[in-house]
Amino acid sequence: MPLLTTSTMNKLANYRIVSRKRQANGRRGTHASQRFGSSLDFSDFRVYEPGDDVRQIDWNVYARTDKLFIKRFLDEQEMRVHIVLDTTPSMNDGDKWLHAQQVAALFGYLVLTHDDSLSFTAKQPERLHTFRKKGTMYRHVFQAKVEELEMTKADEPFLSTIASQIPKDANSVFVVTDGLEALSEFEKTCQLLARRPRDIRFIIVSSEQEENPDYFGDYLLVDRESSESLNVTVTPAMIKRYETTRKHHFEQLENLAARYGHSLVFVPSQPDFLSAALHQFVRFQWIR
């Protein structure tokens, strides 16, 4: 079964990934991306917002429409996107893995459709799976590759391995994970990744059961990854505490990411996941 539905793929044709660097830096005025590079291909207009560089206003359009627009040039540095997918066993919970694959496929599709360079890594048992291609013809190949992936063995951490997987020339990194690692690990990873000025984006997926545990009674909870077990008598009060802890954890993830200048979006499990995910990414202005 294909990860992306045809309708999704059709929708995706109208979107492209927003280069965050530009958005974030545009206002500050650093790394002005109006490099007057080799090609001055006119790409698109966008609405003027206070703080944008005045030099980039297209006065012709203004004359005609009386509205301020900024010209965008194709010499925006070619996006070299890297996607990292978490393949630790904790991902294999309910629909989580499927959704993670779908997210990876989604961004891969977007990147390849717009002729940007896509690289992809995912740890597999015994090896590291890599993919590096550019061009629309590889869209379906990429999807197939993602679909084939399987889980790694237990007890292999994920976050600490990210930094080494990213190629040096990537300027946007999308990390698809479930965030179920200690906050200290996450902080370390954020620190590490912040060394290079890159656009790091985390996509946190989760499963229905994680969000709303529906088990009540006496359980021996076994961790999928570490195989640690815990005897718990699950009562509504316990569920509440669980939810509070979980919420706190993810809040902390968000804070940490923001502190180091990274972006973080949650895509919870829900029916019609792809449309919801798309909607979420649009909302957070990752894609437009």
Binding site: S90, Q209, D218, R224, S226, S229, L230, T245, H249
Partner: protein, 582 residues
């Protein structure tokens, strides 16, 4: 193999508890979830100090060590010297006579005194208790015991004996048994007078507790019945010891409790009166019951037995003269009569003769001595008892030279070798198959005894063996070795001893002696002195001081055992949480 302390088998509760715990333990269903990260974070919130953590890790080991250590301690039987350090000797004497059974509200004075005894026991923890009951032979219920629960149990179990208390005897009995170090004696009775105790012992305190209130009593003092042709004449003497006139109905019952008749009575205060009534003649047993309600009910009924008149004896003048002499010696009512006049004697008289023809006489019991002119056979040997006849007749020394031919239809009671000597017919008639002058029997004590026993046999009421007082020791005349005593309702009371002695049951009433086929009845009556309720004030004589202290050690074993159980359960719980390694 047996066990010294069966009482400690309550510890079986330990393995049972563990077993139950196992069956009701929580079963945790294993479930794999993506991450226990969140669960763990708040499950392990107790930030333990390093020592505590070490304890937790080795919890199982520590618990097992603790359990074993406790076990070692228990085996050494720990005890703690208790603070109750009074080496008191306390004697409790309980009056078990009938007059103690007066009604006190919902209970009786007897029970009230028992409650008082238990209270005394409970309030003197650590003392040594001895409990004695009254009677003709005072008995120890408990002797020198410090176990209060055992003493209390024994007190609760003491039955009312109805026997007159014989307090003087009991007091002498107690005095003889008191320890040299003295004691505190409590006498719990109803109306013991001040002069009961002569104070001649050192360091002995006596406290006599009598009934605090004076009670009026209405009693049947005497009840007699006599036969008047085809009616029975009943005479009852009623004593009214109350301040009011006693009126009511006197009812007469037979052995089965059926009413035979009633009569009214009216007795003025503090007087006695005789009431008579005519009853239909049914059997030999009668019971008279007063309808007045007073506090003491046991004396409101009495039984009476109709006795047959004393057996008269008529002796044939042809018979050996020693017979008459022997009968006179034992005090029988004897008359010598010519042979032909014997048949004319009044009905029921015992006839002693050698004339065989009289055996057909149904109006009189017959004792045949010799068979007259019939042939005699030589006898050689010792007389042997073939059938039990009487406890008092021992024929082994008697020499018999010749015997007559036996009667084929009679059973042999005594024989010489193969030849019968004494026989008994089905109708009870006896035959001595020898002529007295052919024996040396008159020289033996068994001669008059035999005649007496024969008389007793004939005069013995087929129905009764007599009336007795409670707890009387009685030797029954005939052989009742295998018989048992039952009460009026058919409840088994006791067995007669193999030597025909029995102890009369304590409670007044009708009883039945039976061996399964034949049965006889007897009655038990209250003694006259028990039909009066006296009134005396309680008093104390003498002082007592306990010497020294006695240490009662309280065993800590039960507490320790419970602790051990708790440790075992904790161990179990810890193991369960850790997961069993099966």
């Amino acid at each position: 193999m047996s066990f010294l302390q069966w009482t400690n088998s309550w510890t079986l509760i330990f393995p049972l508890a563990v077993l139950l715990y196992y069956f009701f333990r929580k079963r945790y269903t294993p479930m794999t979830i993506s991450s226990t990260l969140f669960w763990e974070s708040f499950m392990n919130e107790t930030k333990a100090s390093p020592y505590f953590e070490k304890l937790q890790k080795n919890a199982l080991l520590f618990l097992q060590l603790l359990a074993l250590f406790l076990f070692v301690m228990l085996v050494m039987k720990p005890y703690s010297p208790a603070t109750t350090a009074t080496g008191q000797d306390i004697w409790l004497v309980l009056d078990t006579s009938a007059s103690m059974e007066t009604r006190e509200g919902d209970t009786t004075w007897f029970e009230t005194q028992k409650t008082r005894m238990r209270a005394l026991v409970d309030s003197h923890e650590g003392a040594t208790f001895t409990v004695v009951t009254t009677g003709d032979t005072p008995t120890f219920v408990v002797q020198n015991s410090t176990n209060t629960s055992a003493v209390n149990a024994a007190i609760t179990a003491i039955p009312l004996q109805y026997e007159a208390e014989q307090l003087k005897k009991t007091v002498e009995f107690v005095k003889a048994g008191l320890p040299k170090s003295g004691a505190h004696v409590y006498v719990l009775t109803d109306a013991a007078p001040r002069d009961l105790i002569t104070f001649d012992q050192e360091n002995v305190a006596w406290r006599v507790e009598n009934r605090p209130t004076e009670l009026g009593n209405i009693a049947i003092k005497q009840f007699g019945v006599s036969q008047l042709e085809d009616e029975t004449n009943a005479i009852v003497e009623i004593q009214n010891d109350t301040k009011e006139v006693a009126t009511g109905t006197l009812e007469f019952l037979d052995l089965d409790g059926q009413s035979l008749g009633t009569t009214e009575y009216e007795v003025p205060a503090n007087e006695r009166q005789i009431v008579s009534a005519k009853l239909p003649a049914t059997g030999s047993f009668y019971e008279a019951v007063l309808s007045s309600e007073d506090a003491f009910e046991a004396d409101n009924r009495m039984t009476a037995t109709l006795y047959r008149p004393v057996l008269k004896v008529a002796v044939d003048d042809q018979i050996h003269p020693t017979i008459q002499k022997a009968l006179t010696a034992i005090g029988a009512d004897v008359v010598t009569v010519p042979t032909d006049d014997l048949a004319l004697r009044p009905e029921g008289e015992l006839l002693i003769t050698s004339n065989e023809e009289l055996l057909d006489d149904t109006a009189h019991p017959i004792l045949l001595v010799g068979r007259g002119e019939n042939e005699q056979l030589e006898a050689a040997g010792v007389i042997e008892q073939k059938k039990p006849f009487s406890n008092y007749v021992d024929l082994s020394d008697v020499y018999v030279q010749a015997v007559y031919e036996p009667f084929p239809e009679a059973t042999t009671i005594a024989a010489i070798g193969e030849q019968p000597f004494i026989q008994q017919f089905e109708n009870g008639n006896l035959a001595v198959l020898a002529s007295i002058d052919q024996t040396d029997w008159p020289l033996h004590p068994s001669y008059p005894l035999f005649l007496w026993a024969a008389m007793e046999q004939f005069s013995e009421d087929a129905e009764t063996t007599g009336s007795y007082f409670p707890n009387d020791r009685v030797t029954l005349a005939s052989q009742y070795g295998e018989w048992s005593i039952y009460d009026r309702d058919g409840e088994f009371i006791s067995d007669v001893a193999s030597d025909s002695t029995m102890t009369a049951p304590p409670a007044p009433g009708f009883y039945q002696l039976t061996d399964g086929d034949a049965s006889k009845h007897f009655t038990v009556m209250l003694e006259q002195q028990e039909k009066q309720l006296g009134f005396e004030k309680s008093y104390e004589i003498g002082t007592y001081e306990a010497e020294g202290t006695a240490e009662v050690d309280r065993s800590l074993v039960p507490i320790g055992a419970v602790l051990l159980l708790l440790v075992l359960l904790t161990e179990w719980e810890v193991q369960r949480r850790r997961g069993f390694t099966t």
